[in-house]
């Protein structure tokens, strides 16, 4: 009982830190999006609030807090309120299984235990948890569309559910390739129980430059495209296609409820960047041998270096997300479905077949 209490306290503190970090990163990505889009369009973007305009997202959030919270008369009040909470909650919840650095051992002798950088990075259902949570994320958007009692919102919600369900398949199948490779590279072959679904294990198995982006280029492309579709970002932002659907599922939202959708969108971007970097870009693995920095495995400074490395990977991926958004125009709905079912799904299946065959042959 006593021990359980301390575990709870530790998880709570970690959760607070990670929550703050995710919300800050969402704010950073809003800023990055506005600046990068401005640069791509030969503008400056926000550069007035704070140095280089970095405080702009906070000013926006304060504005949203002060705005009136309108609920349409004929809306379903309960679901109208729950929808943004689901959206944001899912985006934040995924971070509970993400490892930010390799675990270190603290204490000596009997008191020694592993300290994880993350709430539960070594949990043995990590990847399944992520897939399950992204599926729950559909409810946020679909409920928002339905409960608003507005035809455009409903269309946006419907589009989002169809799109996310279609691309979830190829996403899940692309992940299987990663698991096969990860299983092959398990360091301890004699272990009877291999913790393959744990994200920490997946990162550990990419040690020394066999990052999955090199071993699984096809799977990477499929997963990347599916991640774009899952986060509802351009070229797959049909649920909130402004020219067709007014604002899509969030048309009837104002004030901080809209702000929650907004944060959820960027939180999702942060999450999918983190997942992509864990599954394909080696997570917190340094891109060079650790002794170049004079760091030993298992020390706190090594963990800091790994954490910074992970952070840089996430930010670069987020910049890539933004860059794509301001380059590629939106898909038409039939093109989206064709791509999802006729291209991405067969590619993902082919990826599994090829990976499986190659692993069988070289074993």
């Amino acid at each position: 009982m006593h021990e359980f209490f301390w575990i709870l306290i530790e998880a709570l503190i970690k959760a607070l830190i990670i929550l703050t970090m995710v919300l800050l990163s969402a704010a950073t990505f809003v800023y990055l999006e506005r600046r990068i889009s401005a640069f791509i369009q030969n503008r400056y973007g926000p550069n007035r609030v704070g140095p280089f305009g970095v405080l702009q997202p906070f000013a926006d959030v304060f504005k949203l807090f002060l705005k009136e919270d309108l609920v349409p008369k004929s809306a379903d009040k309960l679901f109208h309120r729950i929808a943004p909470i689901i959206s944001l909650g899912v985006a934040l919840a995924i971070y509970s299984v993400i490892p930010f650095a390799n675990s270190i051992t603290v204490g000596t002798g009997n008191a020694a235990h592993k300290f994880y950088f993350g709430i539960a990075p070594d949990v043995n259902i990590g990847l399944l948890f992520i897939l399950a949570m992204t599926s729950v994320g559909v409810y946020g958007i679909t409920l928002a569309g339905w409960s608003s009692n507005n035809k455009y919102s409903l269309l946006g919600g419907l589009r989002s559910s169809a799109q996310m369900i279609s691309y979830e398949l190829s996403m899940g199948l692309a992940v299987i390739g990663v698991l096969l490779v990860s299983n092959y590279f398990v360091s301890d072959k004699s272990a009877s129980f291999v913790n393959t679904l744990s994200l920490n294990t997946i990162v550990l198995n990419q040690n020394g430059w066999h990052w999955n982006i090199i071993l699984q280029p096809l799977g990477f492309i499929v997963f990347l495209v599916a991640a774009f579709a899952e986060t509802n970002r351009t070229p797959f932002d049909l649920p909130e296609a402004e020219p067709e659907l007014v604002g899509g599922y969030n048309t009837e939202y104002s004030g901080m409820k809209f702000g929650m959708f907004f944060l959820a969108e960027y939180g999702n971007m942060a999450t999918s960047s983190a997942i992509i970097s864990i599954l394909y870009l080696g997570g917190w693995q340094l891109p060079f041998p650790a002794h170049w920095l004079g760091l030993a495995e298992g020390t706190i400074w090594m963990a800091v270096a790994q954490f910074l490395c992970f952070l840089i990977k996430i930010i670069l991926l987020a910049c890539f997300f933004i860059w794509v958004r301001w380059t590629v125009p939106r898909f038409r709905y039939d093109q989206l479905m064709n791509l999802g079912w006729k291209v991405m799904l067969p590619l993902a299946l082919a990826n599994i077949a090829i990976t499986g065959t190659v692993i069988l042959l070289i074993k």
Binding site: F39, I40, N42, R43, Y44, W323, V324, T327, V328
Partner: protein, 165 residues
């Protein structure tokens, strides 16, 4: 069967059909734009200077010996927005008349330039002043002290009027 020939999809090559190389090319183009010069003018720091043809805030021309205005009231009469109010008075100077009171309500002014066009003395002209901010409605009614501008500052506009009016 009524099949459409030579559709856009059929004209595409294989590499165009798989999207990715074209997307990468497009991303190259957007990346190039990032390093191009910007079009934005950083307004409060970097102000724009209009040409003589610009119709900004209407002002009264002030010469060495006082205003040109003879308070004929034509500008007030022609003003479609009824923004100008003039009250005439007598003076010892050659012109004999001068405006005792000359007020332009900048909340009413529509910058049409009729006052300038109708003025027989070229005494009221449109300036280059476009930075017009008022804290209250009273502040927006400009009296003579704010309207009088030395002639040296209005050379561009007077030159423009001589050429094109």
């Amino acid at each position: 069967m009524n099949r459409i020939k030579n559709t856009e999809l059929e004209r595409l090559t294989f590499w165009q059909k798989i999207y990715l190389p074209e997307i990468v090319r497009g991303m190259g183009i957007t990346l190039k734009q990032v390093f191009e010069p910007k079009f934005t003018r950083q307004y409060p720091e970097e102000k724009w200077t209009p040409e003589g043809s610009y119709r900004g805030r209407p002002v009264l021309v002030e010469e060495e010996d006082g205003e040109r205005c003879v308070a004929c009231g034509l500008c007030s009469r022609v003003c479609p927005a009824l923004a100008i109010e003039v009250q005439a008075g007598e003076t010892d100077r050659n012109k004999e008349r001068y405006p005792v009171k000359f007020e332009i309500n900048m909340l009413r002014c529509i910058f049409c330039g009729f006052c300038e066009e109708v003025c027989p003395e070229e005494a009221i002209v449109m300036s280059k002043d476009y930075h017009l901010v008022f804290q209250s409605q009273e502040d927006a009614i400009l009296g003579k002290e704010k309207l009088l501008v030395p002639i040296s500052k209005l050379r561009d506009r007077l030159e423009f009027l001589r050429q094109y009016k």
